[in-house]
């Protein structure tokens, strides 16, 4: 997901305050910034929300790659608006994380130095225009699957940010599917482009939900705190069940020979995921890890003079105001 394998810290026995805190969560009472919270809850949420924010910011890059080449003015306008939305999501999420006592500069520094992670999915390249459609349809589709429950998560600022984010993500997914539909109704070359994009994005999209439940060591704590409402495998299954009929409607083939409807379970069975690939990408060895971080670092370094100047100007203005008042 946009936040994957979030470390919840080492558990210890709960003292009375923690027990009361857990009771409030169990009773469905939202935690707000001024409320007491266990240090582990606070740190875990900082990791989760900042990872989500970083994913939005780095996530601008693969799709931004096609803005200058969008094949119609309408598609260009949609893509510009969408990538701008991602920046906006990053901004709400950084703000939500700041309520937990960390600054945006600290978080950005953690991203740029590789201490903080972002979603594995954004380390894959966008090779053709169809990839823009596949990202909207599959990646944003997977994001919504995870984020709609988060609108009900225990931390107030995060839950409220998610409500707005989800509304925009729903639009993003629809535009992605609409783009794929145009390609699938188009020329044979366009349809082949769509199939190729599905082939490349299918498995990485399923990996987005994170490791299988058996290997997901932090899930139980996150679920108890209600900052994770479904398990990785539950969400992954939902994604497969939702997406397979959509692919059929497009006339595309999901690249999984083991995929079949299981009437007994009422779900699709699907093939094994290459977790070695996932862990490799998470460790920094994906196709675009270096490039993405390089671009972010360059933008930040190139923009330093700009940010410094705005601060310097504001200081000068403040001094002038003081001098004038004196």
């Amino acid at each position: 997901m946009y936040a994957q394998m979030v470390d919840t810290g080492s558990p210890s026995s709960m003292d009375e305050r923690e027990t009361r805190f857990q009771q409030r969560i169990d009773d469905g009472i939202r935690v707000e910034p001024q409320d007491w919270m266990p240090e582990r809850y606070r740190k875990t949420l900082i990791r989760q929300i900042s990872q989500h924010a970083h994913s939005e910011i780095v996530g601008q890059l693969p799709e931004g790659n096609w803005i200058t080449r969008a094949p119609s003015l309408k598609r260009k306008a949609i893509l510009l608006a969408k990538v701008q939305d991602e920046a906006g999501h990053g901004l709400y999420l950084y703000s939500a994380a700041e309520t937990l006592g960390i600054t945006r500069d600290q978080m950005v520094d953690d991203l740029h130095t590789g201490r903080a992670k972002y979603s594995s999915i954004f380390n894959y390249p966008t090779l053709t225009w169809a990839d823009v459609g596949a990202i909207g349809w599959l990646v944003d589709g997977a994001a919504i699957m995870n984020q709609i429950p988060l609108c009900r998560c225990s931390y107030g600022p995060y839950a409220r940010a998610m409500i707005r984010v989800c509304k925009e993500e729903a639009f993003h997914m629809r535009q992605g599917y609409d783009l794929m539909l145009s390609l699938c109704k188009g020329t044979p070359a366009q349809k082949a482009m769509a199939q190729d994009a599905l082939n490349r994005w299918w498995w990485p999209s399923l990996m987005m939900f994170g490791p299988p439940d058996g290997d997901s060591v932090h899930s139980a704590q996150s679920q108890a705190w209600k900052i994770k409402l479904f398990t990785n495998d539950e969400l992954r299954q939902k994604m497969v069940d939702q997406t397979v009929p959509q692919a059929e409607y497009l006339g595309l083939t999901v690249p999984d020979a083991d995929l079949k409807w299981n009437a007994e379970r009422g779900h699709y069975d699907y093939g094994d995921i290459d977790w070695e690939e996932f862990y490799n990408v998470v460790k920094g060895n994906g196709p675009c890890n270096r490039e993405r971080l390089e671009v972010r670092n360059k933008a930040w370094t190139d923009g330093e003079w700009f940010r410094d100047a705005l601060v310097a100007h504001a200081d000068k203005q403040a001094q002038r105001a003081i001098a004038q008042a004196a």
Binding site: T68, P71, L73, A77, L91, A299, D302, W305, A309, H313
Partner: protein
């Protein structure tokens, strides 16, 4: 097809389209998150304006053209934008200097067009002038803050203004198309905008502690007539690639 009105609409549409294309190159790479969003907004506004102007031009052409055939299937010699907007982004200071000079001019253009005898043109101007007034407020404000910021930002902004300055001359040179537009009451004489433009630019640069470059010197021109710098054909090669490599496909 090549009526003066058609040419005039292409000029308006191409300015917005090409500048929007340049600004789109920054998306995701701005110097601050808020700046990234604001500049993308600017790009979106200009793209929206380009679509309105080009759709109207396509209607005037009446040969089955639409906004996309005009944007994607013309060659560089058929583009009618001024040279200023096709100049490469350079540093953020360069982008900002280009934007400021353009916004100051474009807001005057659009205000003149509010009084156009052509109702379709006046209607687009009415929508666009609100957006461009905001763009101008934003770019002027940033020029002041960066000009009067640090020694480095001051030097960068001054260098950027000096570099882009020669391209302003073309904005105020009229030709036969402009004359025809003046005669029919559709347009205005571009020379008449110069004093007001210069007064505004001077005021902002003064506040920014920046120098107005000396008059005279190199005065490149020709964009309005389709004679561009080397940069435009490369910009178009990138922008038009899919439409050119998949002729007739819909997207």
């Amino acid at each position: 097809m090549s009526s003066a009105r058609y040419e005039y609409l292409l000029r308006l549409g191409d300015n917005a389209l090409i500048l929007s294309q340049r600004l789109g190159e920054w998306c995701g790479k701005g110097p601050a998150l808020e700046e990234d969003m604001a500049l993308t907004n600017n790009a979106l506004d200009l793209l929206g304006q380009a679509r309105l102007w080009l759709s109207l031009a396509a209607e005037e052409a009446g040969d089955g053209a639409d906004e996309d055939t005009l944007a994607y299937l013309r060659d560089d010699r058929e583009f009618r934008n001024v040279l200023l907007v096709e100049q490469p982004n350079g540093s953020y200071a360069d982008t900002l200097a280009r934007q400021f000079l353009f916004d100051a001019w474009s807001s005057l253009v659009l205000r003149r067009l509010l009084a156009s005898s052509d109702p379709a043109i006046a209607a687009i101007a009415e929508k666009a002038v609100k957006e461009v007034s905001y763009h101008l407020r934003r770019s002027s404000d940033l020029v002041v803050r960066l000009g009067d910021g640090t020694a480095l930002s001051h030097a960068m902004l001054q260098g950027a203004i000096d570099k882009v300055w020669p391209y302003h001359h073309e904005l105020f040179i009229g030709d036969a198309i402009d004359a025809e537009m003046v005669a029919s009451g559709i347009g205005f004489d571009p020379e008449h905008l110069k004093d007001e433009w210069l007064a505004y630019v001077r005021e902002v640069l003064n506040e920014a502690t920046l120098k107005v470059p000396a008059a005279g010197g190199w005065m490149p021109k020709g964009g309005k007539q389709g004679l561009h710098s080397e940069h435009l054909s490369k910009l178009l090669a990138e922008m038009q690639t899919l439409q050119r490599s998949h002729p007739g496909a819909s997207w």
